[in-house]
């Protein structure tokens, strides 16, 4: 093998490392947290420019053929560290775009526009980074000690890039496989539900963006040290498409897939096409290469949306079971460390509202509702379709903002508290529509709801399983008891998205219970559940109330109300019509007219 070939291979190693780091960052954002960051390339560019101006001498010192800010002439590895930090810092303002207000497609487009805009700005504002010409003759790391064009240096550089990529891989994996990572994946699968379970979406997205930004920034810093030049031509928004293609083809939600994608697409595919024989007009092959990337994206999303290496199903329960010593009695076991008594001290109602109005445009879905929920009671809420029951529940939980009125929870005004804070305070809801986290297993769904887990913070996650593992084991025991009770123990490690409709409702109820609520809002939990099981659940709920939990339950099945709920609130056209036991209600003509008969 010729020396030139070795040089080329060393070159591939560097690019492989750089692409892998960039893809890992994107995999964290897109694959794990579900943030579609079409402006991702900005972070890489920011890192590259930072590393360049940190290592370049002041611009007056190099012949005056380029102008730029900074020019600090700092030694390696400061430029790389700076690249990572600035990549992360640049991500901060992005949280405005994908934070609370903008989600999904709108955020994606906002980010795309930002990427194009940033490129135009840097291109046209010459004093910043020398405009279109970009920054050249950037000193390579350690250039004064080693010869950057030597074989050894190039392989060394490649080795360092690959080692960093591996380190980034383990870092992200540690995070992803922790309870914190579970929260990220829950947000990816269904963000409003994650929010209702106490996940602070803004904080989760910020951390994801910053971490991905740091990875991308670092990749840019490493790249610029190698090619010694960086210009707007190197970070057009097409580069982001290539990285997305890599993550999709390699496999999302799974960092091995990101690495494979980096090897296959930016590295393998773009490089492989260089070896195709030149046919047709000059540039034909290059154009066809882009066509092929387009075809690959579409084909993979159709034939293998999970990518070549799919996200691994995490068999938490099977592992936990296998990990128990044989002398330990097998399940069922009573939960160790029963949930802390959070029935709340003090007297007065668990929740009270005054004059709550929720309007959509001109329509008042909830129109001046005042209710009061007695502690430790299983209160029913009935009413005809469109009465505003679900909207009221949403307003109580904070999913839907209140237009007017006040909500007091345990005597505290929570009218303007975000949903996740209410959830953390013990006010937990379920949803009328299926809202399980589809690509989390049943037990993961349950575990995701456990409040205040040690591993469910960024720092806690980084401290590793040793830090949070014991607590998690307890939570698994609790989840096991619940699954046993609800008959889903055999599906513990099944994806929730693969269950039947009724089973999914159960998952949702169990998940809400795992959140250790003091006040539980259940929105038609029995829909699609076998009546026998429904009654069993009803009894369990009653038991929970007896232990101090307060429950508000929306249900159409009056028999269930008769048997379990007292009192029952009747709603119609956004207002409270009546309240009382079912027997009392049956005696009220207007209730019967509005609902029981009609």
């Amino acid at each position: 093998m010729s020396q030139a070939t070795l040089f080329y291979l060393a070159n591939l190693l560097v690019y492989g490392g750089v692409d892998a780091i960039a893809c890992l960052g994107l995999s964290m954002q897109f694959g794990v947290a579900g943030v579609s960051n079409f402006g991702y390339i900005i972070f890489q560019a920011a890192g590259a420019y930072t590393a360049a101006v940190l290592s370049l001498p002041p611009d007056s010192a190099n012949g005056g053929f380029q102008t730029y800010i900074g020019g600090l002439g700092l030694p390696f590895p400061i430029p790389w560290i700076g690249a990572a930090l600035v990549g992360g810092l640049v991500a901060l303002p992005f949280t405005l775009l994908v934070g609370r207000r903008l989600t999904g497609q709108v955020a994606a487009i906002g980010l795309l526009v930002t990427a194009v805009m940033a490129n135009l700005l840097v291109n046209n504002f010459v004093p910043l980074f020398n405009g279109a010409a970009g920054l050249s003759v950037v000193p390579a790391p350690l250039h004064n000690l080693l010869n950057p064009q030597s074989q050894g240096y190039q392989w060394g550089y490649g080795a360092v890039a690959v080692l960093i990529a591996i380190a980034v891989y383990f870092f992200f994996r540690r995070l992803t496989e922790s309870p914190y990572g579970r929260s990220l994946r829950a947000m990816r699968d269904n963000s409003p539900v994650a929010n209702a379970l106490g996940k602070d979406l803004l904080s989760l997205r910020t951390v994801t963006l910053v971490l991905g930004g740091m990875a991308a920034g670092l990749s840019g810093g490493i790249l610029v040290g190698f090619i010694t030049l960086w210009s707007p031509g190197a970070w057009g928004y097409a580069e982001t498409i290539v990285l997305f293609a890599a993550v999709i083809i390699g496999g999302t939600g799974n960092h091995k897939g990101a690495i494979l994608g980096a090897i296959l697409v930016p590295l393998g595919f773009e490089e492989a096409s260089r070896f195709l024989p030149a046919i047709g007009a000059p540039g034909l092959i290059a154009a066809l290469q882009w066509v092929a990337i387009g075809i690959l994206i579409v084909a993979f999303l159709w034939f293998r949306p999970q990518g070549i290496i799919p996200e691994q199903r995490r068999r938490i329960f099977a592992k936990a079971r296998a990990g128990r010593s044989p002398s330990d009695p097998a399940s069922p076991r009573p939960p160790r460390g029963s949930p802390p008594d959070r029935s709340g001290s003090g007297s007065g109602p668990a929740l009270a509202t005054a004059g709550v109005v929720v309007s959509f445009g001109g329509l008042r879905a909830v129109d001046g509702v005042a209710i009061s929920l007695e502690r430790s009671r299983l209160t029913g809420l009935i009413g005809p379709n469109g009465a505003g029951k679900s909207t009221l529940l949403s307003a109580l939980a904070g999913t839907t903002p209140v237009s007017k009125g006040q909500i007091l929870y345990q005597g505290k005004d929570i009218t303007h508290e975000p949903a996740y804070r209410r959830a953390r305070g013990g006010l937990v809801r379920t949803f009328q529509l299926a809202s399980e986290f589809k690509r989390l297993t049943v037990i993961e769904n349950l575990l995701s709801a456990v409040p205040g887990q040690r591993g469910d913070t960024f720092r806690g996650a980084l401290r590793g399983r040793r830090f949070w593992g014991k607590e998690e084991a307890l939570a698994i025991d609790q989840a096991e008891a619940l699954m046993e009770k609800f008959g889903l123990i055999d599906h513990a490690d099944t994806y929730a998205g693969n269950l039947s409709g009724g089973q999914r409702r159960l998952v949702e109820i169990m998940r809400a219970l795992m959140a250790r609520p003091q006040l539980l809002l259940l929105d038609e939990p029995m829909a699609g559940i076998h009546p026998t099981l429904a009654r069993q659940i009803g009894r369990s709920l009653q038991e929970l109330c007896a232990k101090g939990m307060t429950i508000l339950l929306v249900e159409h099945e009056l028999a269930f109300m008769d048997e379990f709920c007292d009192p029952v609130i009747v709603m119609a056209e956004g207002r409270i019509l009546a309240q009382g036991t079912m027997t009392e209600l049956r005696g009220q003509a207007e209730v019967v007219e509005a609902y029981l008969v009609g």
Binding site: M1, S2, Q3, A4, T5, L6, F7, Y8, L9, N11, Y15, A61, N62, G63, L120, N123, N124, G131, A133, G134, S136, V137, P139, H143, N147, P148, Q149, S150, Q151, G152, L223, I227, T228, L229, G233, A234, I263, L264, G268, E271, A272, S273, F275, L276, P277, A281, P282, G283, I285, A286, A287, A292, I295, L296, A299, F300, F303, R304, I308, I309
Partner: protein, 460 residues
Amino acid sequence: MLSFHRRPDSEPTVAGEARMRRPVLGRRLSVGAVALALAVSAAATSGAIALTAPASAASNLVIGDLAPFTGPDAALGGYYDASCLAATTAINKDGGVLGHQLTCQTFDTRGDPADAVPAANQMFATTPNLALVIGCTSDEAASVVPVINAKKMVAFCMTGQSQFDHVHYPYFFRLVPPDLAESYAMVAIAKYHKHYKKIALAFGNDIGSQTFVNPALAAIKKAGLKVASNVTLDLSANTFRTEAETVVQSHPDVILTEALGAADATFLSEVKQLNGGKMIPIIGTSATIDPSWFSSVGAAIGKSTLAKDYVADNLVVATSGPEFTPFNDAMKAVASKVTSDDSGSLETLLSGPGAVHLFDGMNLAALAMIMAKSTDPSVYKADILKIGDGVKGAVVVHSFAQGKAELAKGKAIRYVGPGGPTSFDSYHDSPGILQIDGYKANGAVTVDGSISTAQLRAVS
């Protein structure tokens, strides 16, 4: 002062055996993806073959055309390839170099400095019989020249960037004027030849074009002329009406411009439109002497208008006589392969710097190989200087065939091709003598006058 020095004399390390591994593609792919995956792995496999069994065509020497084939400057790569085809065909017809035939191979930098580095490394890896590199435009020169230089490969580059006036790369050669000189030349044309007073500037926002702006502004000031307006054309934009109106309303006598891709075509047609259908005279850079520039601008404002209202600075190039004939014959011989339309591409090629100077560069390198009796760049590079600048008593030759014959007789030679006589400075730049060129309506390039050194000095 540059703080960054390359060490070109690195010790070669021992090359070990390594095998290119096929990409890890699972067999669990579903049907549709399998075909694509096969295409990818097939490509990788062919790469592996090229990497491990490169000696199949050992008797051929390769000239690598390392330039953009995609991106906004995509037209450049193909343009240089045409010149390469002409030069190599002529050389091969004459028996080649030291028993080797020459072939051209293209390497796409995508006009992106980050993509250019692997393109260059791949070129070296897969082309063991690479003898010369041409191309390397301003889009990628800054990132690939250090790589090419470290690999000890001679390159004739099409960049006017001024950092190459400051940093010494022993294997770097250029026969095109530095951007600075071109800026001065354009202003000199405006002042001394056309007697314009108010000058508008309209340059593209890419690397190659922006380098002209500041020197041109300084030269205009020095020359005592007025800047009427100065607009930057965003190459990705699709209209420039406000820019055009700004220029029109500033009532310039002339517009200095270089904006490649569709930009100049769009911009100039809008200027014409907004100026009541009357074109404002244009002075272009030598890069606007280019078949694709001519055809797109010609189509947009009319070829006869372009012929009437346009001049450009260009290096003195021969358009007749003994320097021109061999070049003309060589281009005509491959005309059917290098031009696809009747838009005057061939006529433009005959004066375009990309064709002329690279043609000269390739002839210089080929003759230097014969003189040095070696195809090793580190050996023959010194002879490029000798043949280009000429030594005392050297016979002046105008074609490869002539030069080869004289060398065979044991004579010293000086090559003077269509691009005129060369004189290399210590950075291997041959700044050349600038003149004024224009277009005929068929795309043929005309010489409209010459620019004296005194005139250049007066504005620089």
